[in-house]
Chain length 222, copies 2
Amino acid sequence: MNTIEPVVSSPRKPPEENGASQQRAADWENPRVASILSAAAKCFARKGFTATTLAEIGKELGLRKSIVHYYFASKAALIHEVQSFTYHRYLDRLKEATQNGDGSTSQAMEALKALWEAIQNNKTGTGLNIEVWSAARRDPELKRRAAGLQRDARQVIREAMGPAAAKGGVNRSEALATLSLAVLNGLSVTEYLEGDEMRAREAYETFLQLLRLGLESSSAPS
Amino acid sequence: MNTIEPVVSSPRKPPEENGASQQRAADWENPRVASILSAAAKCFARKGFTATTLAEIGKELGLRKSIVHYYFASKAALIHEVQSFTYHRYLDRLKEATQNGDGSTSQAMEALKALWEAIQNNKTGTGLNIEVWSAARRDPELKRRAAGLQRDARQVIREAMGPAAAKGGVNRSEALATLSLAVLNGLSVTEYLEGDEMRAREAYETFLQLLRLGLESSSAPS
């Protein structure tokens, strides 16, 4: 089974406003685009962003650099697309689980647990996130896009937490979603630095227990 | 008021075993060492690791490169020391608050809140963390040291959480400490990417509420 497939169910959003430095919008359902993203993810994970060239990514697939360049105007554009592709793969699954669920807190916990498992199965994802965060320090456009991905992720997580999270008001459900995403990011870093999957998993399960307690407590702070 | 001062109260630990590539152990109480670390932190935050040279760090202080090199054998060694210096500054404060406290959950929450404020006051710290995580991908020694810092931080946090965390057993207090550190790291990333201090702060306060609920719930999972 191929681990990177275009499972994007919704059409791409149009490029955002203010798109002076925007590349062509990548079409993830185009098999060639998907194969370039997959090869790029491998190269980035292996060597980091700095040491990877568009030519090498092409070489992985037997494609000329000019073909890669046709789809992605720059390495920065490709970096963003790889991260965005990976994020949306997870988020689409989470969305699907939410839509098919009963809106209960238990089901929300199951969905968030499944999200963790999905992230765990992609060991290159954390390295990619860290590379993006680092590159964003020197590339405002990349930073803006990475921030956009965080917002997309939070929205899906907020919906996944269901009516229980909304009970405490918009601010509280927003804070819980921000917290949940930060826990996912932070524990990925823990696991990446220490290589201790069990530690990260136990901490995540503890978080879900706390989150459940919080969602079930009727005394939601205003 | 100088923002970076050597406030290290305990003597440096001796260099760890397996020190083939170890540099001289930096003495944080030496004013020159402290000034180099402070200048390095500024340069790294401004330009990133890659673009910063030992010569430039020396120039900030009117020192020759050879002097910087006398104290720090390499840029990687300096990077680690800067991060370590910053971490231990926070951790020593947290330790102090814990030792002077009454061991109550309220006091633990106050200490964890103070830790957040201290981190917030050092805007270059997150950038530095991200640079270290990124550089650790290509430098196993740096990764090992960054993992060591995470362990040190967890231990101090576990102690700060006091007897309430220990009630659920070693595994639970360890999981809570791992989670707390991940929340600090994850929310730093949120704030760094989105520049939204209020969002990160509200999520952290929500975390402390959940943590308190968890610590106070008698039904601590085994």
